[in-house]
């Protein structure tokens, strides 16, 4: 075990019960991600990327194996403790943005700091909104924003919590190529600026190329490095 590991998964497995019997989605995944590393999880649709991400981030619980985030073994925690860990060190960007529609753009960005009772929530949110070039849309509701704008708000929100790790699940999946490229640039810029560890799920080889390292997954198993991902 390396003390500089930010994320470590040991023999991680996930199975779900379906109408047709048990379905094993992940079959014993081992991986380590170091602090400030940028890692892409790639693989075909249905290979288990999202499942892996949600387990690593503690959004879901595995059926076997362990996950460590920094000093914490989150698989040994209950939801209450996991939430504390998320609050302290994890940020998210989702394919479907996941902004709260009853909140304005800036209120969405303020939310993580507000949950921590940070008195400077609004100020920080303004800065971040400026950083994603949406200062003129502070008081607009998500449904009044385009997809790209919504994702930029989501990115601002992800960095608002001063997270150490950022999980992004196909952040450009719902965007056209050009908008997607802009959003990705923004994501990487901010990531470099904040020194965050980035775990990015994508099936876009080009996007994966911008990360320091790629982890390939196929049918719920890691594809050994150098073996090359199946086309």
């Amino acid at each position: 075990m390396n003390s500089s590991d930010m994320i470590r998964a040991v023999d991680l497995g996930k199975a779900v019960d379906t109408a047709l019997g048990q379905l094993t989605i992940l079959k014993g995944i081992d991986l380590e991600i170091k602090e400030s590393e940028t890692v892409a999880i790639v693989g075909a649709s249905g290979s288990g990327k999202t499942t892996l991400l949600s387990l690593l981030a503690g959004l879901d619980v595995p059926t076997r194996g362990k996950v460590f985030l920094g000093p914490y073994e989150i698989t040994a925690m209950d939801e209450e403790e996991r939430a504390h860990v998320r609050s302290e060190m994890v940020g998210f960007v989702f394919q479907t943005f996941q902004l709260l529609d009853s909140l304005t753009a800036i209120e969405n960005v303020m939310l993580p700091a507000e949950l921590k009772r940070d008195p400077d929530a609004e100020e920080k949110a303004r800065e971040l909104m400026a950083r994603v070039e949406l200062s003129h849309r502070l008081n607009h509701y998500p449904r009044q924003l385009s997809g790209g704008e919504q994702q930029r708000v989501a990115i601002a929100r992800a960095f608002a919590s001063s997270a150490k790790i950022l999980f992004a699940d196909e952040p450009t999946g719902n965007l056209d190529t050009r908008t997607g490229a802009n959003v990705i640039d923004l994501l990487f810029d901010l990531n470099a600026e904040f020194g965050t560890t980035l775990v990015l799920v994508t099936h876009d080889e080009r996007l994966a190329g911008r990360c320091g390292r790629s982890i390939s997954i196929a049918s719920g198993m890691l594809v050994p490095e150098g073996a090359g991902a199946p086309a």
Binding site: T50, L53, S54, A57, G58, L59, D60, E79, E80, A83, H84, R86, S87, E88, V90, F92, F94, T96, Q98, L99, L100, D101, S102, L103, T104, E107, L111, P112, E114, L115, K116, R117, Y141, R143, R157, S161, D169
Partner: protein, 834 residues
């Protein structure tokens, strides 16, 4: 707990319109309950006040001798108002005429409730006077004016005193109070004049009545204090015990108002539950996002508890205020139609309404909100996965406990509560099974129909579970309305039947055997409808199975507390009959054959049998006119005391009383225009006594008319509440429909198709709900009428048309109106908004 953040989120939710519906249904629910509680309370108070006029007081102590002054001191200490009357029979003399009259001496503050009406001429309507005769003055009933041949200002004598005729007495509030006071025409005088007549001697038969009025709580306190201090033949009673016919009507009306209040609470609760569910359904995604941002489950609890409390406070305050105003408005609008003045609303019902609102909130809205904590954060990624159902055990449990608690609190009647509750529970269970299978089969039918129908029915079936719920809610709401409607109809019919148009309003007693035939002829000749003549003999039970009744009473002092009812050892009117009188029902034993000729048998009324532990087969010994007679108990009867007919506790078999000289009684109907006939009758047969109950009957009718009005009012209110539930329930289902129809439109379905399918869907839902409601209503009403209201159950064939029709039309219309918005909204707005 992060109160600030919670309030901020709440404010943001409100601003974005997300909360409007929830808050609205909360406010509506609280204000409906408050309105109903306030109105019911005021109506109830008004009815009590109005019926108190039967006694001229709230409570009366009747006694054959003056009561212990300690009791009066106690009443004064409690701040009760009091008055006193003294009644006795006496001859009243005018110049050359005399008439046996029923004299009533009243204190200056008589009556405490109701009004005295007097005039300066006989047989007219008169005017209200605020107190009785001044000292030295008497007031005569109209009939006495011609019969004594006097006019205002003349002098009459009672005992050794002379009085000036001051006014004609047209109406006194407590005239109907018992046979003794109704015997003979009324003469009213001042209480202070009684001694100087010298008529009332220590041994004379007089009836003292002490009247009390005041605040309900104080009266109850007084009542419980007084009971042990009362002498042997003193009796304390309120209007319910004082006048059986009014008491029964009041009891039932109270139960109905209560039932109305209960159903109002349930309906409001359902409305709240529906909107709270909708609110939390829409907030699952929010919570999931908050969780990914690091909100812990306990933080979520905290947030939503604060939100809940804030909502609850706003809704309760606003609802309470609105309820109060609406209630004021309703009484204002209705005041021309409400014949009594409503007492001002008290603080208690307002408080009650608001607490009810909050408890409703707690049991119906909190559970779905608390369910939010369990939302799994993965939901942000896999929405379908964590689509947790809000209707789990906690929700049901809380709603069940909350409703039960509220119902019990309201009714203070566990039996009524559990009956309604179990009924509803069984209905829900049975109905959901039926609803689900109906839905399935309607889909099969729909397959053969055109595209609009296919779309509608397929839609209904796809959301099978949801729609089952919705049919249940619709059905439940319609069912409650039908129940209330049915019970009200049965009650009103019953009351109308209780006093038929030409019910006998005069009783003649003490008719000697030789006068029976001539009186019958006289009545017939004057075209006056009369009942058969019953023999009547005074007598009392002295032994039960050989044991003395007097001794028995002394030995079972505690028993007397437990079993109220008439004592066996008091003097009673005895009669014999071959045929069971109308309105009497045999409870045990058997009624004898009409031509029975065996040894004496006797039939007892239920209360006297219960109080004295007498069973069929026991042998009773009677003392009649100084001689004894034994008879075996052949049957126990239930008697309808409120039917204003001659009723007897004790009836002998034919021939059993042949050895005793008996007098006869009858009853007849005398319209007001023929009232003077009494003078002729009494002049020809001076030994007989006529009891006039026409005033009493008129008063009972008036009360019943008011009770009926109160009931209709509550019915209307509950209908409004039911309508609100329907609206809330349809609204709650709108999100789903919005989305589905937006998708259909993007697929090219025309507005007409979408609209048509929605209309068909709602009509079908309404029809099924109406059908189920009818089924449930019939079953529940059966139990309510037989168990609670003690009415005869009647099957209601028209309901089977009415129920489904009401369901189809109501839900069809409300649903269609709500869906207009669906088809007007551009599909993209819907798809984006969700």
């Amino acid at each position: 707990m992060n109160v600030r953040l919670a309030l901020k989120l709440l404010w943001r939710d409100w601003r974005s319109g997300e909360l409007t519906l929830l808050l609205l249904s909360l406010v509506i629910a609280v204000s409906t309950v408050t309105t109903i509680t306030l109105l019911v309370d005021r109506l109830h108070k008004a009815l009590l006040l109005e019926s108190a006029t039967f006694l001229a007081a709230d409570r009366v102590i009747a006694s054959g001798e003056p009561i212990d002054p300690v009791i009066l001191e106690r009443a004064d200490a409690l701040g009760l108002r009091r008055a006193q009357t003294l009644s006795f029979l006496s001859m009243v003399f005018a110049e050359d005429r005399a008439q046996l009259s029923s004299v009533k001496a009243v204190s200056d503050n008589y009556p405490l409730r109701g009004t005295l009406i007097a005039s300066n001429e006989p047989f007219i309507n008169g005017f209200v006077v605020d107190k009785g005769p001044a000292p030295g003055e008497v007031w005569l009933e109209s009939r006495l004016v011609p019969s004594l041949d006097v006019s205002i200002g003349d002098t009459v004598e009672i005992g050794v005193a002379e009085f000036r005729v001051g006014k004609v007495l047209i109406k006194e509030p407590d005239r109907g109070g018992g046979f003794s006071s109704a015997a003979g025409p009324r003469v009213m005088m001042n209480l202070v004049d009684v001694p100087k007549t010298e008529v009332v001697q220590p041994a004379s038969r007089v009836s003292y009545r002490y009247l009390f009025a005041g605040d309900a709580g104080r009266l109850d306190e007084f009542e419980s204090w007084v009971e042990p201090h009362l002498g042997e033949d003193a009796r304390l009673f309120g209007v319910k015990q004082g006048a059986a016919s009014v008491g029964n009507a009041l009891d039932r009306a109270e139960r109905f108002l209560l039932l109305g209040g209960l159903l109002g609470v349930v309906l409001a609760g359902v409305a709240i539950a529906l909107s709270a569910q909708r609110y939390s359904l829409r907030h699952y995604d929010h919570v999931a996002v908050l969780k990914t941002l690091g909100a812990t489950p306990s933080m979520i609890d905290g947030l939503f508890i604060v939100i809940f409390l804030a909502l609850g406070t706003v809704a309760t305050l606003a609802g309470g205020a609105i309820g109060f105003v609406v209630q004021l408005g309703i009484t204002q609008v209705l005041s021309p139609y409400i014949p009594v003045e409503l007492p001002p609303p008290g603080a208690l019902p307002l408080w009650l309404g608001m607490v009810t609102g909050f408890v409703c909130l707690l049991s119906y809205a909190l559970p779905p909100l608390l369910r939010l904590r369990a939302t799994e954060p993965v939901r942000v990624i896999r929405r379908d996965l964590a689509d947790a159902s809000t209707t789990d055990r906690l929700t049901y449990g809380a709603a069940v406990i909350g409703t039960l608690g509220l119902m019990w609190w309201y009714s203070k009647d566990l039996y009524l509560t559990s009956l309604i509750f179990l009924g509803a529970l069984v209905a829900v269970a049975v109905l959901s099974v039926i609803a689900y299978s109906l839905l399935r089969s309607s889909r099969v039918l729909g397959m053969q129909a055109g595209s609009v129908f296919r779309l509608a029915l397929a839609g209904m079936q796809r959301r099978g579970q949801q729609n089952t719920m919705q049919i249940l809610v619709f059905g439940l709401a319609i069912m409650l309305l039908l129940i209330l409607y049915l019970v009200r109809t049965a009650l009103v019919d019953e009351w109308r039947a209780q006093i038929p148009e030409n019910a006998p309003n005069h009783f003649a007693i003490n008719i000697s055997p030789e006068d029976v035939a001539p009186i019958r002829t006289l009545l017939a000749r004057n075209g006056i409808a009369s009942q058969p003549l019953y023999p009547m003999i005074r007598g009392r039970i002295t032994q039960i199975n050989g044991e003395s009744t007097r001794a028995g009473e002394g030995g079972h002092a505690e028993d007397e507390e437990e079993a109220p009812g008439p004592r066996a050892s008091s003097d009673r009117n005895l009669t014999f009959a071959g045929v069971l009188p109308d309105d009497n029902h045999i409870l045990s034993g058997e009624w004898w054959a009409e031509d029975y000729k065996g040894p004496p048998l006797v039939s007892l009324e239920r209360d006297i049998a219960t109080r004295n532990h007498i069973k069929v087969g026991d042998v009773l010994t009677f003392t009649i006119q100084g001689r004894t007679l034994s008879a075996a108990v052949a049957s126990i009867r239930r008697v309808a005391w409120d039917n204003m007919q001659p009723n007897f506790y004790i009836i002998f078999s034919p021939g059993a009383l042949d050895d005793f000289p008996s007098t006869y009684m009858t009853s007849f109907t005398l319209p007001p225009s023929k009232k003077l006939f009494l003078n002729e009758l009494l002049r020809d047969y001076p030994t007989m006594t006529v009891l006039e109950v026409d005033a009493l009957i008129a008063q009972v009718k008036a009360i019943i008319a008011q009770v009926t009005l109160a009931i209709e009012l509550v019915l209307v209110l509950i209908m409004v509440a039911g309508g609100l539930v329907l609206l809330a329930s349809i609204q709650a289902s709108m999100d789903e429909r919005f989305k589905q129809h937006a998708i259909l439109r993007t697929l090219g379905a025309s507005r007409r198709t979408v609209m048509g399918s929605l209309v068909v869907e709602f009509c079908a839902l309404g029809f099924l709900a109406g059908l189920l409601a009818t089924l449930g209503a019939e079953a529940t009403v059966y139990f309510l009428e037989t168990e609670i209201f003690e009415l005869e159950f009647q099957f209601n064939p028209e309901l089977w048309l009415l129920g489904p029709a009401v369901g189809t039309v109501l839900i069809g219309i409300v649903g269609t109106l709500a869906t207009l918005k669906v088809v007007r909204t551009p599909p993209i707005a819907v798809l984006r908004g969700l």
